[in-house]
Symmetry: C3
Subunit: 109 residues, 3 copies
């Protein structure tokens, strides 16, 4: 643990594409491993992606890079990269990671 | 007002889709209500969305979720959720919210 | 230099579209000119855009505004706005700008 690291990190997960969720899960893991408290606030499509039945409907990549999605999936499977959701679960086991859902989003969709 | 809250929040509004603008307006309202000073910096498509004649041309949702746009609009209308612009106007009435326009963007478009 | 400015700024460059990279390069230049240390962390499509052979394949604008891309390019050329990459190079000459590449992304693509 870096002794001069900030004590907490807060992320708003707005987007529900697997590429951004993977980046957020990786940041969360690193911060948790450094002893930081992490607050994740899920809103809009970021909250949608965490629904129980969302697994198959989460877009793989940001729209600008849609054509690279299948390549990304293939490489990540070949390298056995865990899914963003499993990465987040791991982060919660190694550190203090709190997840909040946006109540306004929950009422809307 | 949380006495240990940070004193200010700065947001760069780069994207000009109604979903992200709604999230930014909601964050701004919460921060203003907590007594924080809020600085909003409008650039690129985020600035475009604030133009007088932009109301009809602001994309409703991020591209990855375009197909969910009509559903979102319907639910928000049914629940009488105010528009992101009206939400921001309300935030300016309850707290210290400053809005800055990117001069480079203004010269370009 | 603002004497009460924060001492450093950290940006994660996740997206690889020229509009967002331009905004990041502009923020970096301003921060460097104010004497701040800037850390840029390149990941996913943001790292792709920095590859030697990427120049021609970087999408010009975010997907929601794709139709405005040609207009943006035209105006920026008419006004001789430097590219985001040249802007970043300039920032590195006037201040302390460190660039980090995401090792996980480098292994994947």
């Amino acid at each position: 643990m870096h002794t001069d690291a900030p004590e907490r990190m807060s992320l708003v997960l707005f987007s529900g594409t697997a590429d951004k969720l993977t980046a957020a899960a990786t940041l969360t893991t690193g911060a948790a491993a450094m002893g930081m408290e992490v607050d994740l606030f899920l809103t809009f499509w970021g909250l949608e992606a965490f629904k129980k039945d969302a697994a198959g409907s989460v877009p793989l990549v940001s729209a600008e890079f849609a054509e690279l999605g299948p390549m990304m999936r293939e490489v990540m499977q070949a390298k056995r990269v865990p899914s963003w959701l499993d990465t987040l679960r791991g982060a919660r086991e190694i550190g203090e990671v709190k997840v909040y859902a946006c109540s306004a989003t929950m009422e809307r969709v």
